[in-house]
């Protein structure tokens, strides 16, 4: 009887997925054994506390999830490509769009950004590491195990099916009796704790570990955006933690916070969810603004126009992001006063966002613009994101939203915001910083091919949805009839989705091709860039900077190149580094099992795993790590080898 709960019934697609997951797992295990890579994997990756390697693992996981979420998206577009399609049934479609949303926001966009900030932030502020390297590993493994827990739901027990916003009472045990939403509450909880820890870690890193001379107003824009993002994380994620805990009590232990009877309030969930969920949108978009700022400055050979107003506008956006959550349910009947308040605060966000757009345009003005792949994504972002922005203002008008709410117009809007605002940004950042991390550029020709496929297909996919919304098509409909007239535009949208898939495949092929054939870069500065991370050799040695740089201006590396001001004034001395540790990984694995047992209400193993978590936490708190020193001689040798010259 118990076994019955694990089974996912029905479709050949799911059986196909099960078989391919099993085959891939066996393949990886056999491969690791055959090539004798277990030790390498454990020593270099699973136990690492190096922020760069943790960043790379975040990005790898995010790329994987991008493809998982992308396949979900393709299945949805195929299912709605024509009226009365029979590709997916209602239940399967509901699971697919729910996991698509969850994965793309929480397990693709966020980790990709956290990955980039892990790799780049310490370098950009001239630091040797993050403030708490071991905690950083804990963050990663909690995120990763949360993501894996959500992913196995597809084949073990069933995925969440109440939408990524999981509104109650639909997500309650009464209306969603499968274990799907148990997975939701636990997978998000585990990875959410990881994110919260990241938030604390990076606030401390940025505030306490900047190179001497780097005042707050001399920080690069990406660092600023990450600082603000992490402050938002620290304020927003505890709300999610509480909401998910209440959800878990409702679903597993019979409490009634969000039910229809005994005093539960369904809209309380909606409020809690969006108090976290709206700032979450800015958590994925603000770092993008930082990435774009770096890239625009680099490839127009100019400093950022209006630096101060850029910083100020981000602070304003972060404050406003907490004051707009009720615009997600204008139609709740909360009255004219409340709706008007949230309308105005929502529209107000357009002002600081506009400031940023114009500052970017004026950074380009009088510059010398080169169209590299990262710059192309950045330039494409401006017109496309502006469409997303203005439709956002249209949606912000409470009255008009009575007609857009829950329609495809909304779907079009947030894809027009999130894809240029987060996905293009991480791709741009990926292309831009790739040579820093790996020591060679990605191929430009392939990069541009992928770019054009992605940009054009993106518009073909999502622009028709604005019209579908105005035609009255609601989101999350798994099927519709011929008479509705939704067919042709949905078909167009499906064609666009195929194009997007081709674009992403070219992007990945580019990584493979470039790894094999692209010439290695020994300068460490292939783009002639401006900020400190480019002052290190590529690939970056474990200690980042042989000598901690002295910062005298914004864009210190550019200054030092232009005016021959030395960045490094001290001599090379021995460098202290932390030891690797396997505890964060083990903690993550135990958390995974704890989550899994709770999902299936297996109480005894859950209690055992819970005790395991406590033991690991205890072991980590009493752990004394003295770290180790890299001798000055060794540092010098490494530097010489990486630069291919004398230091």
């Amino acid at each position: 009887m118990d076994l019955e709960k694990f089974k996912v019934h029905g479709e050949p697609l799911i059986y196909g997925a099960m078989i391919s997951i099993a085959l891939a797992t066996i393949g990886i295990l056999v491969g690791l054994t055959y090539f004798k890579k277990w030790g390498y994997l454990w020593r270099e990756w699973l136990t690492t506390v190096d922020h760069k390697k943790i960043g790379i693992m975040y990005i790898l996981a995010a790329l994987l999830m991008l493809f998982r979420g992308g396949v979900d998206a393709l299945m949805m577009r195929l299912q709605t490509a024509a009226p009365e399609m029979k590709f997916l049934d209602a239940q399967h479609y509901n699971e697919v769009f729910t996991t698509h949303g969850l994965i793309m926001i929480l397990f693709m966009a966020m980790p990709f950004i956290i990955g980039l900030m892990n790799v780049i932030i310490p370098l950009q502020i001239g630091a040797r590491d993050v403030a708490f390297p071991r905690l950083n590993a804990v963050s990663f493994w909690l995120f990763f195990m949360g993501a894996m827990l959500l992913n196995i739901s597809f084949v073990v027990g069933g995925s969440p099916d109440a939408g990524w916003s999981a509104y109650f009472p639909l997500a309650s045990i009464e209306f969603s009796p499968t274990v799907g939403n148990n997975y939701y509450s636990l997978a998000l909880q585990i990875s959410g704790i990881g994110t919260l820890i990241t938030g604390v870690n990076f606030i401390v890193t940025i505030l306490k570990m900047r190179a001497p001379g780097m005042t707050l107003m001399k920080m690069p824009m990406f660092t600023w955006s990450v600082l603000i993002t992490n402050i938002i994380i620290v304020f927003a994620f505890p709300v999610l933690t509480v909401a998910l805990a209440l959800m878990m009590f409702d679903r597993l232990f019979g409490s009634q916070f969000f039910t229809m009877a005994n005093g539960g309030m369904d809209m309380l969930w909606a409020n809690l969810f969006w108090v976290w969920g709206h700032p979450e949108v800015y958590i994925v978009i603000l770092p993008a603004f930082g990435i774009y700022s770096e890239i625009i400055a680099t490839f127009s050979k100019k400093n950022l126009y209006g630096y101060k107003s850029m910083v100020f506008s981000m602070v304003i956006i972060s404050l406003l992001s907490f004051l707009v959550w009720a615009h997600h349910f204008y139609t709740m009947g909360q009255g004219v006063m409340v709706n008007s308040f949230f309308s105005i605060t929502t529209m107000a966000i357009a002002v600081p966002t506009g400031v940023k757009i114009f500052n970017w345009l004026f950074t380009l003005r009088k510059g010398r613009i080169t169209f590299t792949t990262p710059m192309l994504y950045t330039l494409a972002f401006i017109p496309i994101f502006t469409i997303g922005g203005v439709t956002g203002v249209m949606l912000a008008m409470a009255s008009a939203d009575y007609q857009y709410h829950n329609t495809m117009f909304l779907v079009a809007h947030f894809h027009y915001v999130l894809i240029p605002g987060a996905v293009f940004a991480v791709i741009a950042g990926f292309h831009y910083w790739f040579p820093k991390v790996f020591g060679f550029r990605l191929n430009e020709r392939l990069g541009k091919h992928a770019f054009w496929w992605i940009i054009i297909s993106f518009n073909v996919t999502f622009f028709p949805m604005f019209f579908l919304g105005l035609m009255g098509m609601t989101r999350r409909m798994y099927t519709y009839s011929e008479e509705t007239g939704f067919g042709p535009l949905n078909m167009l949208s499906f064609v666009g989705a195929l194009g997007l898939a081709i674009g992403f495949v070219i992007l990945v092929y580019n990584i493979y091709w470039s790894t094999r054939y692209m010439p290695r870069d020994t300068t460490g500065d292939p783009w002639d860039a401006r900020t400190l991370e480019w002052a290190t050799p590529s690939p970056i040695p474990a200690y980042n900077f042989a000598i901690v740089p002295k910062v005298k201006s914004l864009d210190p590396f550019w200054e030092s190149k232009q005016k021959n001001v030395p960045l490094y004034e001290d001599k090379i001395t021995k460098i202290h580094l932390p030891n690797n540790t396997g505890k964060p990984f083990i903690l993550g694995v135990i958390f995974f099992f704890l989550g899994f047992f709770l999902v299936f209400s297996m109480w005894i193993p859950a209690v055992v795993a819970g005790i395991g978590v406590l033991i690991m936490l205890g072991a980590m708190s009493f752990d004394r790590d003295e770290g180790f020193y890299v001798s000055a001689k060794e540092v010098e040798a490494t530097e010489k080898k990486l630069r291919g010259e004398t230091v």
């Binding site: 229809m260 005093g263 009088k366 010398r368 009255s399 709410h405 019209f467 105005l470 007239g485």
Partner: protein, 338 residues
């Protein structure tokens, strides 16, 4: 610069592909509420087109003029801090635009949350619309009739829908007549609409509510006054009565076709309190959130069968509450008024 070429060609062809504006249901309103919303949307599109135009012109100009080319090789751009005047301009103009749209928003929201001006002098026809699983129940307390999955209303008449749900949150939406509003299990929401022409308009639930969501549609048939009266009389004479058992059967069913009854479920399964009651439970009786005095007046005009005025439901209901929440398993409670 070939960058924008394909994009524009694409947008243009998309717009041409559209089978005319009439298929854009939302911009083809048939009543004052939907017309207000349609006007608001078109106004915002025009305003935003202006913003887009400014950004796009500047964007194309900058990219064409300052791209790297042979003639500016070796050019090293100057350091440029920013410009207070320019930055002030792109702060102040957006603020003006936002202020303008805010005024439009507040006015139009107020307009559609109340009876339309043209129909102000009428007493609205009250219809309770409730959802269960993937169907809609429409109760006409004044006429004492109830329908499932279709609703008939007279033309040129203010109609006040009172929305609630016997299950998940749903959103009641007849795009050509009015914007949508949530129907929830623990409070009553109000939606005003009226139709200017006779005809059949599609209505639907637009808030995802589970497996059968995609099929949760109903027909809104707008009739002349005479046709409406005839229909009501015919229903009263020919349709069966809605008993509590029958209603429980309806609630339990997943999908249903159309049904018609000569009595309503409001007498034995009353709706939850409305949002006003909700607020007053917390001691702010004089400041009703809904701000619609007619809605409150109406309760006195129609005391029977008018369960909502007797409902004691408030923000902190407890098991002893006299009027239970509408839910399929409520059996022993009956309405005690009258």
């Amino acid at each position: 610069m070939k960058k924008k070429g394909p994009l524009y060609a694409l947008f243009l062809s998309l717009i041409l592909l559209l089978p005319g504006c009439s298929s854009l249901t939302v911009l083809n309103p048939k009543g004052p509420a939907a017309r207000t919303l349609s006007d608001t949307i078109i106004l915002s599109i025009i305003t935003m087109a202006f913003v887009l135009a400014v950004v796009y012109i500047l964007y194309i100009f900058v990219l064409v003029k300052y791209r790297a080319k042979k003639s500016n090789e070796g050019y090293i751009p100057e350091h440029e801090e920013g410009n207070k005047l320019l930055e002030a301009i792109w702060i102040i103009i957006p603020i003006i635009i936002v202020a303008f749209l805010s005024v439009v928003t507040v006015k139009s929201t107020h307009a559609v949350e109340n009876v339309a001006d043209e129909y102000k002098d009428q007493k609205p026809l009250v219809i309770y619309a409730s959802s269960s699983n993937w169907k809609w129940h429409f109760s006409y307390p004044e006429e004492g009739i109830e329908t499932v999955n279709y609703v008939n209303i007279p033309v040129h008449r203010a109609v006040e829908f009172r929305l609630y749900s016997f299950g998940t949150i749903t959103s009641f939406w007849v795009p050509q007549l009015a914007g949508q509003k949530y129907a929830m299990s623990d409070m009553l929401t109000t939606l005003h609409l009226s139709a200017d022409t006779v005809g059949s308009f599609i209505g639907k639930n637009s808030n995802f509510s589970g497996k059968g969501f995609a099929h949760m549609e109903f027909e809104t048939l707008v009739m002349t006054d005479q046709e409406y009266t005839d229909w009501v009389n015919e229903v009263k004479e020919t349709a069966p009565e809605l008993t509590e058992d029958e209603f429980k059967g309806l609630l339990a069913a997943e999908h249903l076709g159309r049904k018609t009854y000569s009595s309503t479920h409001l007498t034995f399964s009353p709706p939850p309190g409305d949002h006003g009651d909700h607020m007053s439970g917390h001691g702010s009786e004089d400041q009703m959130e809904n701000g619609n005095p007619e809605h409150i007046d109406n309760k006195d005009i129609h005391p029977s069968p008018e369960p909502s005025s007797q409902t004691e439901f408030d923000g902190e209901p407890h098991p002893e509450v006299e009027q239970p929440l509408p839910s399929s398993d409520v059996e022993e409670h009956t309405h005690e008024s009258n």
